[in-house]
């Protein structure tokens, strides 16, 4: 250390001990770590099975439809979905930021946008699932052939529906949490409490769900 540090100063170089956060936030972080392992296990299982298979369906062939336009637009729709989800993360950040400034109006506005973003993502997913279902894909059924033209095992669709379904369930929970937060904000719960920490915790969850989607998106649509 170049400069003399007063004896009273905390030893965390940022000046704030990581233990100095509220316990609920700590719990949320540990929960997210746990949940990361759940998704990690799913995605590693997917990777294991995929790489033990000789070939695998081509995502550009499978995911090429766009509602209203028909087919021939590979990955266009999922890009839109991803864009919506990432934008909803931005509005969530703005809501958290407004919460720090005790700006109730800003929190309400941005939370509503985040909820709309989440619902829009879920609707897109519902459309995509329905579309795939009508093409004959479901758990245990796979109409798509492998890239090399050979017959594919059903594990492509098995993993796709299981993992995107599990992620969709997380988004759904996130929307419910955000709606509860919105009701609490509108009832002035946080104004009375004097802080908007709960919004921050809901935000952590929401960002995590978005981050997981980036991995799910990469594994199923890009690779």
């Amino acid at each position: 250390m170049a400069q003399a540090v007063p004896a009273e100063q905390k030893w965390w170089s940022g000046g704030r001990s990581p233990f100095n956060v509220e316990y609920g936030k700590l719990m949320m972080w540990y929960f997210l770590m746990s949940d990361a392992f759940t998704f990690g296990a799913f995605l590693i299982s997917y990777g294991t099975i995929r790489f033990s298979s000789n070939s695998w369906p081509d995502p550009n062939e499978v995911f090429q439809s766009f509602p209203g336009l028909g087919s021939g637009y590979p990955l266009a729709f999922v890009s839109l979905m991803t864009f919506i989800l990432i934008i909803s993360s931005v509005t969530m950040v703005l809501a958290v930021q407004a919460g720090h400034a005790m700006d109730k109006k800003g929190v309400v506005k941005n939370l509503i946008w985040t909820i709309i973003g989440g619902l829009a993502f879920l609707s897109c997913q519902a459309w995509e699932w329905t579309h795939l279902f009508h093409e004959g894909a479901w758990w245990g059924r796979n109409p798509f052939v492998n890239m090399d033209g050979s017959q594919a095992s059903t594990n492509f669709t098995n993993f796709f529906f299981t993992i995107t379904g599990f992620h969709g369930f997380h988004v759904f929970s996130g929307v419910i949490i955000n709606i509860i937060m919105l009701i609490m904000v509108l009832n002035n719960v946080f104004e009375r409490r004097g802080h908007y920490l709960m919004i921050e915790k809901a935000g952590l969850y929401w960002h995590f769900v978005d981050l997981v989607w980036v991995f799910v998106f990469t594994c199923f649509y890009l690779i």
Partner: protein, 607 residues
């Protein structure tokens, strides 16, 4: 900045929470029976709920082992009373093969998860963490209550699976597919298996809710002066246990979800190229991998043995030090070795899979990592031995069980070196050698830690003592009995006797063990009966035990003994005490012990 300041400089952090909890403590609601004993949010009551549920499960799980030991000891005898109780599962007074598998499956599941995970760390994490770090309660008492009730629902589902027509799950406590994935494969793979999976999923939720609470309480709710390095080793052990659980159970959860899909949604995550003898049909499933399930299972399965063992290690450290009237030897080394065990726990899972077709080259890495665990384990053992070395030992029942723990941990740990070698494992896997190894090192040792904890903290839990005479009988019969049961199994295993077999009378090479099997069965019945003595002692002493009259009966330095003899919800009547020293000032400066709350004297060296 001095080292001391570095380690203890951030202790003022927790003061903000004290304020919050003081106001929470101020108003005692009128408690009804429901809020006090059933949906209680007091960590001490929740701990007792976990303990008593665990005891009931232990009786059930132990009874299962008595039943299958009857079969193994007396394969050609019939016991008509069994048919009266169990009906078709013991037709003609003999345990039926399907039921035998169900018995070993449920024995393993119940004891590993419901007794030694929920019953052990559920009890003592709840009871000891707030008391020993100086908190009014857990970070979230409500989540803590939910944690117990999820465990309770999981228990109910598991119990109900015993009564379905096709019987409970019977594919082994590991539930490997394809057996567990195909309802047509065996009776136990039908609805019993679904109930097993649902129950275990609920159990994971319970463990997660509990674990999050334990971690945030330890990191965030410590009283003033209670820096991380002043915490008793029990709290450190429970902290590592909680982290292990938070990170490993979700992987099991994922594995179970995939298994449920394989069972009911026609997927083939774990299934490929299967011909089913019972229906004479080839299945259409292609592309899955049964080994994948084993990876997911053992990624939990191995940390799980440390989830079971670490709380026992922590309590034993505390009890040995208290009753040897000596500071724990190598406090920091104890923490470091627990941390090392924690990390290594995640890197050794495939040593359970040496013979499932794992690449032998990969296996050699897992051998290395597995044998590395011997290092922190040995550090801990030597630290315990040096703690009691030339100590002023007081042989309380808790102390005896702690010594028994160390003995068991050494005996069972040494055989771990045998089975951890992939070459030796070719011969030893799935034999009684493995049974002997893990029962001694994980099962019996953790039970000893649990008993030690119960005997030591019973006065704090109920304000009364357990009966010492019964306790000494309990200890000696259990110690001798456990060795008599499991020691001979090493010889059987080396001779190649496989586990999970119903009857060995068909093999001439195993006939030499007929007498030994009978002997083991007789001893296990005696040991089981002795545990009932403990159960009697426990429940009798809750109501009729000798009353505790002093605040600190064991002369212990930790914080829980500064509370009233029967602490209410909130633990301390007035202010939460401030901590000035570590938890192990025994036999210092000519004094027997110095409580953590006592300020460091002017002439005293500070820890």
């Amino acid at each position: 900045m001095s080292n001391e300041a570095t380690l203890h400089g951030h202790s003022e952090v927790t003061t903000t929470h004290d304020v919050h909890h003081d106001e929470h403590h101020g108003h005692h609601h009128k408690e009804t029976f429901i809020t006090k004993y059933v949906f209680s949010q007091d960590h001490k009551m929740i701990a007792k709920q976990f303990l008593i549920t665990g005891i009931i499960w232990a009786i059930i799980g132990g009874l299962f082992s008595v039943l299958f030991r009857l079969q193994l000891g007396y394969p050609d005898q019939s016991f008509p009373i069994l048919e009266d109780i169990l009906g078709k599962w013991a037709a003609g007074g003999k345990i039926q093969p399907e039921f035998y598998y169900a018995l070993v499956t449920m024995h393993g599941t119940v004891l590993v998860f419901f007794v030694l995970t929920a019953g052990l760390s559920g009890t003592f994490a709840n009871f000891l963490i707030p008391l020993q770090v100086g908190a009014r309660d857990m970070a979230s008492p409500f989540m803590n209550m939910l944690s117990y009730w999820f465990f309770f629902i999981a228990s109910m589902v598991m119990i109900s699976s015993l009564f379905v027509q096709t019987g409970p799950a019977s594919g082994g406590w590991t539930s490997y597919p394809p057996l567990s994935a195909l309802g047509d494969a065996s009776e136990g793979s039908k609805v019993g298996m679904d109930l097993w999976l649902v129950s275990m999923a609920l159990f994971v939720v319970s463990s997660l809710l509990g674990g999050l609470n334990y971690v945030s309480t330890i990191l965030n709710m410590r009283t003033k002066g209670m820096s991380m390095t002043r915490m008793p080793l029990t709290v450190w052990a429970l902290f590592f246990t909680a982290v292990l659980g938070i990170l490993s159970f979700p992987v099991l959860f994922s594995g179970f979800i995939l298994l449920l899909f394989d069972r009911h949604a026609g997927t083939s995550f774990y299934l490929s190229d299967i011909f089913l003898a019972s229906t004479q049909k080839a299945l259409p499933n292609e592309g899955g991998s049964a080994i994948l399930y084993q990876h997911l299972f053992w990624f939990l399965g191995h940390p799980e043995v440390y989830i079971i063992l670490l709380p026992a290690m922590g309590m034993v450290s505390e009890i040995l030090s208290t009753n040897a009237r000596k500071p724990i030897f190598g406090y920091m080394a104890m923490i470091a070795s627990m941390f090392a065990i924690c990390v290594l726990a995640f890197l050794v899972w495939a040593h359970h899979m040496f013979v499932t077709g794992l690449n032998p080259f990969l296996g050699s890495f897992f051998v290395l990592l597995t044998l590395l665990i011997a290092v922190p384990s040995a550090i801990k053992v030597f630290n315990w031995l040096t703690t009691i070395w030339r100590g002023n030992l007081r042989f309380t029942p808790a102390m005896l069980f702690s010594l028994g723990f160390v003995s068991m941990f050494i005996s069972g740990g040494l055989t771990g070196i045998f089975v951890g070698n992939s070459t030796l494992d070719i011969h030893l896997h799935d034999t009684y050698f493995v049974i002997a190894h893990f029962h001694i090192v994980m099962g019996v040792a953790s039970f000893f830690g649990m008993f030690a904890g119960v005997y030591h903290w019973f006065p704090k839990m109920y304000g009364r003592y357990l009966n010492n005479t019964l306790a000494y009988i309990h200890f000696w019969i259990t110690l001798v009995g456990a060795y008599l049961i499991f020691w001979p199994m090493h010889y059987q295993g080396l001779a190649g006797v496989p586990r999970r077999y119903l009857d060995f009378s068909g093999w001439a090479s195993f006939n030499q063990f007929d007498g030994l099997n009978r002997f083991i069965s007789i001893v296990s019945i005696i040991v089981f009966a002795t545990q009932l003595l403990f159960v009697f002692n426990f429940f009798y002493s809750i109501f009729k035990g000798r009353r505790v009259t002093t605040q600190n009966p064991w002369g212990s330095a930790t914080l829980e003994w500064t509370t009233p003899i029967r602490p209410g919800h909130g633990n301390w009547d007035g202010e939460i005490p401030e901590v000035h020293r570590w938890a192990y000032d025994y036999g210092k400066d000519g004094r027997e012990f110095i409580s953590q709350t006592e300020p460091v004297g002017a002439n005293e060296s500070k820890h």
